[in-house]
Symmetry: C2
Subunit: 331 residues, 2 copies
């Protein structure tokens, strides 16, 4: 969470002049995004009434080739009434532009709508219900959108965990290598192959949802969006929203509300419902794998806060024990 | 430049409820400040029309005992029409409040006015003139404000440089220990003792000035403010604004405009003008000392960008050569 690149007011002013948004009034680098730099930009607005935008500079990880997928998706979803920030196109109609940073490297930037709302740390059931509802809306709205493979699917978990190695994993927790080997085998043997699929957010944690009270005002950060099972996306969201105290405490009322909210728009099929426990274990493993990798590759004294992989090991074990009961209950 | 503390939307909402500013609408951690965390906060406003504020949490360095000095100064300057953000008082009239962070530590927080404007990297003379003008206004407006010793004065340079040691300094540049020993001796022998004094900003770099075109919309970050020679504050500002290319290139037109802008409000006395070359060498040394200390105490691979002390060694040497000519010319 940092601003990796310095953009001068002069650079920003020049950039803004390519858009029909008025003159630059304010720009603050904001502490959001891990693989990009973001600025909250204020301009005089199209009509002089003032307007705000998020300017994102893509620093790492995201391939330029994927940007049209992400930015086109925002446009489609915004057009269909989903609470996502629309992309602001420049005067030539482009969703992103290239600029040269101080080091002389070309970087892609995009201007997107600023949305009000705050991210909730401790969701109430009514808020989880609204999030479930918004996720299902997203699944429906992007149904005919084009495909993008999930680059954070099972084969990537395996790669990351192999890279950690049993020794590395054991440094996190003595039991971890055994737990992971067994669980990865289980997932490989039981992963569903034929469920309804389409565009997934694939990372809908509370910090990627803006809310005002119980209303979802923004789903943001679509840079893991991909084509996968809808129910897997619901499982990721479930793992992200329904636990407290670092995965130690399951919150049944939040879980129930999230599932109800989702199913009020898009009821689960029998096959989806049956697959939810294994999908939830997979969703937990996805974050175990990236967190374990980052844990072992980030110095303990780095300014970046390392996220404890055990938070998601606990969820994974919880789903192995209780998943059947939670998800078969239905909504 | 980071947000050191996580504040949940729930924490922020609870905090905001102590102020007469309406309900929380948005909160973004912003990448400003080195010894504090800052959020750009939007609320529904006193009258429902929307309002923005900067919330600052004091993390390090600033002693709680000094906060009333800093925040009271903002109030005084804002009241006198200087372009500074006013402090928003809570319902009980307090300029700051204590909150408990996630680790259970009490931290002071203050809500201050949000001001439009952007920080300029490459000032034009007209912009430097406006900054000189604003600095002199500040000196006049706070004339009767109370005293606070300059904790970044000559004795602190000496402490920091002694801590670096000749060996450390030589690691930065082979010539540095000799340059510094000689210069510190010169400064000790020639530092003025009796010049007009009062409240100084003492850190008025371009990133602490917000501008819209040639208009100063905000002087910010007063956390080095202290009582010292006005002309020293002008010298700090001169060193901060009048060079390009890492101190290699002096910008005479910017210098002339800055001095003219200052003197249009508060003409220098003969004694001040005569002292400017040595004050400017001291101002450069102040930043050499902190940068050298930070350079040697920050790992090269840290996420924080280290600022090169040599940028200010070059300025110091420039002032030793040319200071007489630049400052005696007058405005």
């Amino acid at each position: 969470m940092a601003v990796y690149t310095h953009l001068s007011a002069e650079d920003l002013g020049a950039l803004i002049s390519h858009y029909d948004v008025g003159e630059l009034v304010s720009a603050k680098g904001i502490a959001e995004g891990v693989s990009n730099s973001n600025w909250l930009i204020e301009t005089t607005g199209k009509d002089g009434g003032g307007a705000r935008y998020i300017l994102t500079m893509y620093e790492f990880r995201i391939e330029l080739a994927d940007l049209p997928f992400f930015l086109g998706l925002l446009d489609l979803l915004a057009e269909k009434g989903c609470p996502v920030p629309a992309t602001i196109h420049d005067r030539s109609g482009a969703t992103h532009r290239m600029i040269i940073n101080e080091e002389g490297d070309p970087k892609a930037v995009a201007l997107i709508e600023f949305l009000p709302g705050v991210s909730i740390d401790h969701p109430e059931p009514a808020q989880a219900r609204a999030v479930g509802h918004a996720l299902a809306q997203l699944h429906l709205a992007a149904r005919d959108y084009r495909e993008r493979a999930n680059q954070m699917g099972m084969s990537s978990w395996k790669e990351l965990l192999d890279d950690c190695g049993a020794e590395g994993l054991a440094r996190i927790d003595r039991e971890l290598p055994g737990i992971i080997a067994q669980e990865m085998q289980f997932l490989a043997d039981n992963w569903p192959t034929d469920l309804p699929r389409g565009v997934c957010h694939a990372d809908l944690f509370p910090d990627n949802v803006l809310m005002l009270g119980d209303v979802v005002t923004g789903l943001i950060d679509f840079y893991f969006a991909c084509t996968d099972f809808f129910a897997y996306d619901l499982a990721v969201t479930h793992a992200a929203w329904c636990f407290a105290d670092h995965g130690r405490k399951f919150r049944p009322n939040v879980s129930k509300a999230l599932l109800e909210g989702y199913e009020s728009v898009l009821p689960l099929t029998d096959a989806e419902r049956a697959a939810m426990p294994v999908l939830a274990r997979g969703a937990a493993m996805r974050f175990v794998s990236t967190r374990a990798y980052d844990w072992l590759h980030t110095p303990a004294d780095a300014l970046v806060t390392r996220k404890d992989p055990m938070d998601f090991v606990r969820r994974m074990q919880f789903y192995a024990r209780e998943g059947q009961a939670i998800f078969s209950a239905g909504a």
